[in-house]
Amino acid sequence: MEKEPYYVPVNNEITLFEAAYANHLPLLLKGPTGCGKTRFMEYMAWRLRRPMITVSCHDDLTTSDLVGRYLVKNGETVWVDGPLTRAVRSGGICYLDEIVEARKDTMVVIHPLADDRRIMPIEKLGQLLEAPDSFCLAISYNPGYQSVLKELKQSTRQRFVAIEFDYPKPALEREIIMHETGLAPAVTDKLLKLAEMTRNLKDNGLEEGASTRLLVHAGKLISKGVEPRAACQGAIALALTDDSDMIAAINELIGALF
């Protein structure tokens, strides 16, 4: 990270992260989508002056995808490190985003890295990597999407120091949106009001309300000249749900505000 990413602390997350990092403890970031977890990680990477490798987890992610694999080059086999191995070797930060999306058997590979051993066996090479002090493992997930199929195993979660994130308080969210989009205060306030309305719909037909990220998207469209209703419909209503009745209701809320 050359340039300081824009990040406004919400609570004591920076202090907590730094203390955990100093003690070589891995971190678990919990919070709804779009509330600033990834941005926080970018900021911490910049602050600690460490390279960061981000892996967006998905259900086809294999252990080889994380650790590395042999590839064939000019008739010879060549070993190529995976992102986790690269982060360990370079003493950087490995950030596994949306960890619950990955298969449980794949995630077992991080266990020896996430306890006091801080080692990583690479079976195919017959190597045992020891993580340097500067290495940091961080994972994130959204507790709102928890289901029987997608929950973090106790054996995984109990290795981490957890930091809980939520949407910033209105005043802070206002500051963030205005900084990120350059919008006028009056329009920003309407966006915040819309966010509050959609968040009221959580568990009433919506899984999640509009995140700070979605508000920034809508704000950026508006600041580029897109009509506010159209911007909110595209960046918020349609992004939140596919349910036609719910989209219609959110559009009515948008229409009531703009």
Binding site: V72, T77, D105, S147, P170, T198, N200, E252, G255, A256
Partner: protein, 723 residues
């Protein structure tokens, strides 16, 4: 003109109508109907006869009356309106019976008058879903929408009429509904009801006039809030008000300009600090003046508001104190425990101070937060909702509300909403509280009967606790065999080598391939290894027929088969649920939980399986609709709905015993399929082939004659879906 397009002749029509109305038995006269029809063109004759036949399935007299009236009204009504009229009559018959339905048919002119309402008005059913969500998005107390005679709120429920048709275009009528809903929300949100209606207007000689003036003034105050809070909607509200005024001018209704005093009051009430006290203070200023009534203004119903608020205030006070006491316990404060800093000797002298809650403003204009012993706490969502509701009623939270309730201080029945026991519905006054309402498909009408079936979920009394063990002993060998069958289906992770695509290079294959190429042979392309992942994601719902006809060996077969299925499904690890269904008539459809998806296969579940007993009849459609909804809440790639039944749909002396029942079941299965569910039927009825292919499709049903075959059939179905 082709011969086939010739109008029906008198004799043909007479014969057809005599047959249709079974005149030998009903004594209905059909000559007049024939006279009316004979001079019409063939297309119109077919249209009228088609609808007469559809209405005949509802009631013979309605159908007969329909032909008489429709011929008279043909010139005045479009076909679309005639169809709406016929459907409206059928719906009225469903809901209110023969007389009101006949009145709908006979009073065609009044229907014609309301044709605009039907054409351009918006029905409550159409807007309920969207506007419920809309009002839920607005801040404040959770409000419900319900259908009422007029537009008003009691401070918890917003009532809208069946049809809103004050304006010419339907989109404007929808806007009007939305504006009215927002207006009523504003009344609850901005303190319109923080008035003692009993005393505030007692000194006015004409209480009604004073109330009307108060309501008009409060409307001015609320308009200002709307302008500030929902500017987009406020623009729309002004537009529909202008539309209404234009319409009034066109109709020649004179609009006298309002007295200047209203403008003065508007100036006062448009300030952000204006309160309901300011409104009350201005009432004398406008008494006797003509009162403005914008189109979106709803009716003020002080009696309904007062009754609702009094009940709520008392209930919420108790509920909050009880919830706070629970919160104190959860947070580890125990009033019985002395604080840690008190020494043992002092324990008796000092009384333990109970934890103190208070509400404190976060920052200027940033709302309030709950504080416990000087520390802000994040209360659970239900407590937040309570605090919000209390603040809306009182303006803040009275200190006595924030004292946690002592042990046993309140009888739980005081604060838990009294729910009528659905089990008692047939013992005392019939009610539909706690019941689910489902539509039913009327194939003859070709549309649904709305809210036709009343379904209740009931608990099944447990049966013999030793029953399951007896079945396990009896079928030991069979269960072993079944386990093997099902385990064979159980997929496992395995590494597949020599694949043409994969996650990794298969080094052994690569070495061979390189050797082959050096040798001059063709090089294989199967050089990869691939981890085949076991990714079962199944949810299966067993819908068990508990009708009276299953009495005897069929009921035993069902229970034994379920025991075997549970044993093997537990091994397979798939999620499954079992529900029984039965009932008498459309008002008494019953579903029995035997095992919900989240229930464990434990002694309680086993006892419920043992408790499956034959009950009444088989109204299949409603059970399918209810269990489809349940099944759709489960996250799974494949969802199966397996019906275990002994026969075709039937109900007590009911139309359901006819083709109607089969068609409704078929329609319910269509609805299930549309949501991605795979329905199957395992039947013990040997006549099943007459109707099951029509309902389930040729490949989706099987007939068995032996209990042992049932789990094997389930295994077949599984294999078919997962292989």
């Amino acid at each position: 003109m082709k011969a086939t397009e010739q109008p029906y002749a008198y004799a043909t029509l007479l014969e057809r109508l005599e047959e249709l109305y079974e005149v030998e038995f009903t004594w209905l006269k059909v000559e007049q109907l024939v006279q009316g029809l004979v001079n019409l063109d063939r297309n119109t004759q077919d249209f009228i006869l088609g609808w007469a036949e559809r209405l005949l399935t509802t009631n013979v007299y309605i159908s007969h009356e329909f032909i008489i009236r429709v011929v008279e009204a043909l010139d005045r009504l479009e076909r679309r309106v005639i169809e709406a009229w016929a459907v409206h009559a059928a719906d009225t018959f469903d809901q209110q019976g023969l007389r009101p339905a006949l009145a709908v048919i006979q009073q065609v002119d009044s229907f014609l008058e309301s044709a605009h309402a039907h054409a351009e008005g918006v029905a409550f059913d159409e807007v309920e879903s969207i506007l419920s969500t809309f009002v839920c998005g607005l801040s404040g107390r959770r409000l419900k929408l319900a259908q009422g005679e007029s537009v008003y709120t009691d401070s918890e429920t917003l009532y809208l009429p069946n049809i809103t048709a004050k304006l010419v275009k339907s989109k404007d009528n929808f806007l009007l509904c939305k504006a009215q809903v927002a207006f009523m929300w504003a009344q609850t949100r901005f303190g319109s009801f923080r008035v003692d209606f009993a005393t505030a207007f007692a000194d006015y000689p004409d209480r009604e006039q004073a109330l009307a003036a108060f309501h008009a003034l409060d409307t001015l105050r609320l308009e200002a809030y709307m302008e500030r809070e929902l500017p987009g909607l406020w623009r729309d509200m002004q537009r529909i008000e202008r539309l209404r005024l234009d319409e009034m001018r066109e109709e020649g209704v004179c609009n006298t300009p309002l007295h200047g005093m209203w403008e003065t009051c508007r100036g006062v009430l448009h300030t952000p600090s204006a309160t309901i006290e300011d409104v009350l203070a201005l009432v004398p200023q406008v008494l006797g003046l003509p009162i403005p009534q914008p189109v979106y203004q709803t009716r003020l119903n002080p009696d309904a508001v007062t009754a609702c608020m009094l009940a709520r205030m008392e209930r919420e006070k108790i509920l909050l104190r009880v919830k706070l006491a629970e919160l104190v316990k959860e947070m580890g404060f125990d009033s019985a425990q002395p604080p840690e800093d008190v020494e043992e000797g002092e324990e008796e002298k000092k009384e333990v101070t109970p934890p103190e809650f208070e509400m404190r403003e976060v920052q200027e204009g940033q709302g309030m937060e709950l504080v416990l012993d000087d520390k802000p706490i994040a209360p659970p969502e239900d407590v937040k909702q309570l605090l919000t509701s209390i603040m809306l009623d009182w303006g803040d939270v009275p200190p006595e509300f924030l004292v946690p309730a002592g042990d046993g201080e309140y009888d739980p029945s005081l604060y838990q909403k009294e729910e009528k026991d659905i089990e008692d519905v047939w013992k005392g006054i019939y009610h539909e509280e706690g019941a689910f309402l489902y539509r039913e498909w009327d194939f003859a009408r070709q549309h649904y009967r709305k809210n036709w079936c009343v379904l209740r979920e009931l608990e099944l009394p447990p049966g013999d606790p030793a029953y399951v063990d007896k079945v396990l002993d009896k079928y030991q060998g069979m269960i072993k065999h079944l386990r093997r069958t099902f385990e064979a289906m159980r997929d496992e992770n395995r590494l597949l080598k020599r694949q043409s695509q994969g996650d990794d290079v298969d080094i052994d294959a690569l070495v061979e391939a390189l050797a082959d190429s050096r040798d001059g042979s063709e090089m294989s392309d199967k050089l990869f290894q691939h981890m085949h992942r076991a990714d079962r994601s199944m949810a299966v719902m067993f819908m068990v027929d508990m009708s009276g006809s299953t009495k005897g060996w069929i009921n035993d077969a069902e229970r034994e088969a379920l025991v075997m299925l549970c044993e093997v499904l537990e091994k397979l690890g798939d999620r499954y649920a079992i529900y029984g269904f039965s009932g008498i008539g459309r008002k008494r459809c019953e579903i029995y939980r035997i095992k919900a998806f989240d229930d464990l296969y434990n002694s309680a579940t086993k006892a419920r399986i043992a408790g499956i007993v034959p009950k009444d009849y088989t109204r299949l459609g409603v059970a399918i609709r209810h269990l489809t909804e349940k099944l759709n809440t489960v996250e799974a790639k494949t969802r199966l709905l397996i019906t275990l039944s002994d026969g075709k749909p039937e109900d007590y002396f009911d139309i359901y015993n006819t083709q109607y029942g089969i068609e409704d079941t078929r329609q319910a299965l269509f609805e299930a399929r549309r949501t991605g569910i795979h329905p199957f039927c395992i039947t013990i009825d040997q006549r099943g082939k007459d109707y099951l292919p029509h309902m389930y499709g040729h490949a989706n049903w099987v007939e068995i004659d032996d209990v042992k075959k049932l789990p094997l059939k389930v295994a077949d179905i599984y294999r078919r879906l997962t292989s």
